[in-house]
């Protein structure tokens, strides 16, 4: 799916900025932070607009916030089943302690976890930290 199609599907207007941000995510195989995006886009992009773009994309279900141990939030594309307001209920991410990249492990599934009585589960996020494939070479 192209950026243009994605935007149309999400009921969002097609603007240069949005298309470029979306393409960054489509090209990246890992989660991006605000500053990753600012860097990736070249110099003449407004910080504020990027904040708004990210928020809009999350609201519309194009992106989801990725859990991170460290400082600033990262975002990653939602795949298939994510619709507006209804995200995937399960995310598994791997963060490399060496290179700092966080990647989605779509193949990995979280096994059943027994919650104590009285708790409802809506979403599960698993963050695994260690050393990634690249950095292990």
């Amino acid at each position: 799916m192209t950026a243009a199609q994605t935007l149309r599907n999400a009921d969002l207007r097609h603007t240069n900025g949005r298309e470029e941000v979306l393409n960054l995510f489509l090209d990246a195989d890992h989660a991006l932070s605000h500053s990753d995006i600012e860097n990736g886009l070249g110099p003449d992009h407004d910080r504020v607009t990027i904040y708004r773009t990210l928020r809009t994309f999350v609201d519309k279900g194009l992106l989801h916030k990725v859990l991170d141990d460290g400082g600033n939030p990262k975002y990653a594309l939602c795949r298939d089943t994510c619709a507006s307001g209804h995200h995937h209920h399960e995310h598994v991410h791997f963060k490399c302690d060496n290179c700092g990249q966080t990647t989605c492990l779509d193949q990995v599934h979280i096994p059943a976890v027994a919650l104590p009585e009285g708790y409802n589960r809506k979403e599960m996020n698993l963050l695994i930290q260690g050393v990634c494939l690249e950095c292990n070479k």
Copy 2:
């Protein structure tokens, strides 16, 4: 274990501020953010000192950062096996979408997860979101 003992064990000097922060955590059954602490302590505590206290406690293995989807970082006590620099390798937290509290589920364990070839695992954090016991009543 009292706050005073804990500080001594960690090779930290015993000061009022540290003891009070530690007691907040000992009393709380959920993770605390910087502002939770600022509120919990009463008015004459320096924001900067709290930042430094939190960092020191994390460094010494008394606290660990709790993953959160949302905004600002939260912290929780490390239990038993956490020593300086060597945290528990597995954390399970439950965040209530209703009241916002994040609690450690020490009883729950993460079942084995198969990582793709070439990945090393050092630590796993599972965040479950839903509605907690209290809010389900």
